[in-house]
Symmetry: C2
Subunit: 220 residues, 2 copies
DNA sequence: CCAAAAGTGTTAGTGATACACCCATGT
DNA sequence: ACATGGGTGTATCACTAACACTTTTGG
C-alpha cells in the first residue's frame, strides 16, 4: 500500500461576459508570487470544509462581487510541475455573467482585475492559457447545443441581442429569419410585452426566457 | 491570504465493457478499511510525481492488467465528508475495454475484482454510486454523438456487433437498414475483406475503424 | 425624408424515419 | 428443408439553408 500523499487543491475560474460586442474574460494581475504582476485566471485554494463548487463560488464573490450566476465544472488539471510552489491540482470552473452586473472588486491577493477580450489575451501565469482555451472550446460547444447563451443576457432581451451573442462567440454570421424561426420553435422564450425605448429606429420586442434562471436545457 | 490546506487526491475509474449482451462495470471488493469488503470503483491515490491521467493509467494496469485503452477524465468530486478518512478529492475517469481483453488481475488492496452488469450494481462504498451514474450518463451521451463505441469492439467487427453495442447501451432497438446507412455515410469504417467463420448462418463482413485506434471523432 | 435596426415567408435540399424481403451458411 | 442472422432500397417527413423586402422609429 502506498503512503497517502497530499496535494494543494485550487479552483480556477474562467469568467466570461460580453461587452462592446466582444467576448471578454476576467483576468487578475497577481499581487503575490509566484508570477507576481502577471495576469492570471482568478482562483484560489480550496478550504478544508468547503466543497469544490463552494470554493468556486466564494472566489467568484471575493474577486468580482457577484453571486448567483451560472457556474459549471470544466476540467481538472494536475500535471506535476504546473505550479512552482509544488504539487497543485486545480479544478477549473467556468462562469457566465450577464452584461449588466460587472462591478469588479479587488481582493487581498489581487492588485488589479480586468476584462480582456478573448482575442487580446496577455501572457498568462501557470498553464492558464491552456485552461482558458479549454473553457472557450466548451463555451462554444455549449452555446450551440444548450441554452447557456441566455446566461449572458439580462432578464429581458431582444432577439437581435441574443443573435449577437451567438455571432460573437461562434464568430460567424447567422441568418436573422432562420435564427428566429429556430428559436421560437423551441418554445423557450416568450414576449414580455415591453419594447426597447429611446432607440432611433423601430423598437424591438423584449423577450424573456421561459425557464428558471440558471436552468440550462439541451437543444440537440 | 489563506493558509494552503492540503488534501489527498485520488483517481477513481469507471471501466466499462460489454459481455453477454450486457454493459458491465468493473468493481473491486475492498480489502482494506474504510468500507472493507464492500464493492467500490477501482482507484487509488495520486502519487507525488505523476499526472492525474498517469495515475489513472497506473491504477488501471494494477487492477486489470490492461493498458492502451480509451480513457477520459469525467468529473472531480470533492464534497467534504465523502471519505471518512478525511478530505479526499477524487478525479473520476472513465475507460472502455473491448470485449476480448478482460483478464482481471488482483492487486494488493483488492481482494476481488468482478464485472457487474449496470442493472445489477450492489451497494457501493463512498459516493461511488453517484460517480457511476454520472459515468453512465456520459457514456450514453458520447455514444450517440461521437465514435467512442468502437472502443468496445475488437479491431475487426461486424456491423451487427456494432449495432448491438448501441442497442445495449442506449437500451432501445435500432433499425438495421438505417443504422448501416448512417454509419456508412460517415465514411469511418471500411471492409476488412474477411468474414466471420463457423457461424451457422450467412457469414458477416468484418469491418475496421478507419481512424487511429483510440481516436474519437464528433459525429454531430 | 433618411438612416437604422426590426420584423416577416417561401423554396429547395438534406438528413431521418418507417418499412419487408431475399441471401448464405450449418445442421 | 429449415433455422439463423446478414444484407439491401424506397417513399415520406422534418429540419436546415438560402434569400429580400417592408415597417417603425428618431433625427
Amino acid at each position: 500500500m502506498h503512503a497517502f500523499p497530499k496535494s494543494s487543491v485550487t479552483v480556477d475560474l474562467i469568467v466570461f461576459t460580453i461587452t462592446d460586442n466582444s467576448l471578454k474574460v476576467l483576468l487578475i494581475k497577481r499581487g503575490i508570487e509566484p508570477f507576481k504582476n502577471m495576469w492570471a485566471l482568478p482562483g484560489g485554494f480550496v478550504l478544508e470544509d468547503e466543497s469544490l463548487e463552494d470554493a468556486a463560488k466564494r472566489e467568484l464573490v471575493e474577486e468580482t462581487g457577484v453571486k448567483d450566476i451560472y457556474l459549471e465544472q470544466l476540467y481538472t488539471f494536475g500535471e506535476p510541475g504546473r505550479d512552482p510552489r509544488g504539487r497543485v491540482i486545480t479544478v477549473a470552473y467556468f462562469a457566465l455573467i450577464n452584461s449588466q452586473i460587472q462591478k469588479i472588486r479587488a481582493s487581498t491577493d489581487v492588485s488589479e482585475a480586468q476584462w480582456y477580450s478573448v482575442n487580446k489575451i496577455p501572457k498568462l501565469a501557470f498553464d492558464h492559457k491552456k485552461i482558458l482555451d479549454y473553457g472557450l472550446q466548451r463555451l462554444r460547444w455549449k452555446l450551440e447545443y444548450t441554452t447557456v447563451g441566455f446566461q449572458l443576457l439580462p432578464k429581458t432581451f431582444t432577439l437581435s441581442q441574443l443573435q449577437n451573442i451567438y455571432e460573437i462567440i461562434l464568430h460567424k454570421q447567422l441568418d436573422k429569419r432562420n435564427f428566429r424561426k429556430k428559436l421560437l420553435s423551441l418554445d423557450i422564450v416568450e414576449e414580455s410585452g415591453e419594447f426597447t425605448e429611446g432607440v432611433s429606429h423601430r423598437p424591438a420586442m423584449l423577450y424573456k426566457f421561459k425557464k428558471r434562471i440558471g436552468e440550462i436545457i439541451e437543444i440537440l
